[in-house]
Symmetry: C2
Subunit: 233 residues, 2 copies
């Protein structure tokens, strides 16, 4: 049995995704975006609406509903890596003034893998990078993407200048665990998340980048230690 997916549900979830991506969507737009007939889109959106996953605003457009907010928040709170990483984020922000993030790998089938920002702490500089939580970035060409795919060089961190966004420099380090075969031998490493700093490029220079890079790598290691303590004893 290869992939016995129920089409109806797939379509509904696609619709839900469209609405969340766009922030708000009219019925016709939603139908076009998902290539569904208006009647089908309407029926599915009504189902999503009656279950609280979307809602209709005053203008009659569909918006993300509170249920999705609730489930997302619950899911986030069950991601133990976030609570483990929060102290590290705080320390990074305190030391650098720049915004700091936690990323994980989000594996959606077609279109390639992406990285997903699941937590952040805002920097203190008045010009700062902000609010990427919930956003995905391509694995190619982003610092966190490189780190998540295991392409971290000796230095322990990756720097990408003007990768995803212009005028922005990203510095990322992996939180990686050793994987073991049943007999106990080490088989490789698995990156469970990445810690990253995203800052305006004009504020960076080689020295600062090295300082931040080493800090992020060190904090990533701290998070790893906390993670292992939670999962081993």
């Amino acid at each position: 049995m290869a992939e016995p997916s129920t089409r109806t549900v797939e379509r509904a979830l696609q619709l839900l995704g469209s609405v969340c991506d766009a922030g708000f969507l009219t019925l016709a737009d939603a139908a076009r975006g998902t290539e569904l007939s208006a009647s089908t889109a309407l029926r599915l959106l009504r189902t999503l609406e009656s279950t609280g996953f979307v809602r209709k605003d005053d203008e009659g457009a569909y918006r993300p509903g509170l249920r999705i907010v609730q489930l997302g928040a619950q899911a986030l709170s069950h991601e133990s890596i976030i609570s483990l990483a929060e102290p590290a984020l705080d320390r990074i922000v305190e030391a650098t003034g720049e915004s700091a993030y936690v990323n994980v790998q989000a594996h959606h089938g077609p279109g390639g893998d992406h990285g997903l920002y699941i937590a952040m702490r805002e920097g203190t500089h008045s010009v700062r990078h902000s609010s990427w939580v919930g956003r995905t970035v391509p694995m190619e060409g982003s610092a966190s993407g490189a780190v998540l795919s295991g392409k971290t060089p000796q230095a322990g961190y990756v720097v990408v200048d003007r990768g995803v966004e212009a005028d922005v420099t990203a510095i990322a380090a992996p939180i990686a665990v050793q994987t073991h075969a049943p007999d106990g031998t080490t088989t490789g490493t698995r990156v469970i998340a990445a810690l990253s700093v995203v800052a305006p490029s004009y504020r960076m220079n080689p020295e600062k980048i090295r300082t931040i890079g080493e800090l992020v790598a060190a904090e990533a290691h701290n998070v790893l230690t906390a993670y292992q303590q939670e999962n081993q004893p």
Copy 2:
């Protein structure tokens, strides 16, 4: 046309909700919890899995997936009330040391209405109330519930001692807008959210409660002003 809901989608969403509520669920548990046959539950969970809404962990149990995290975070970031309220939360925490929250009304059909915590700022006391984001509380017997249903007394805030949780006192104030008829006459008020402080009861006394209550009410009013500025000009 009364309620043309698609059964398949409803079931899938129900399944998704179960998994998120429980944190992790085995197939059999999920099937029982939703009263579905094992084969149907399996098929739907597989669909949810292939779209990233749930995932199977190492033990083969279903857990909330990253897609739900992503959409939830996106939806949260589109809730403008949160960003408007964050400065107020900060100020409340700074002034009181207690955890502060934003609640909205989550209207799920059966089982009655509930309030939903959609944002919070942690208090600074070492003993503090923490991490209710994503959680729902009954409208009856909770301070934020009372406030959300419009039952705010003259004082402008509601206090509930040991309502939802033992040894916890909650103080809530409404963020309410006037509603108007087409002709411009005021028809009533609509509570769009609530601001609340949740603290260990042993730390409270009548005087402190009054201070906090007035602060929360004042900050709620600040948020309202910011909200109206954003939606009027």
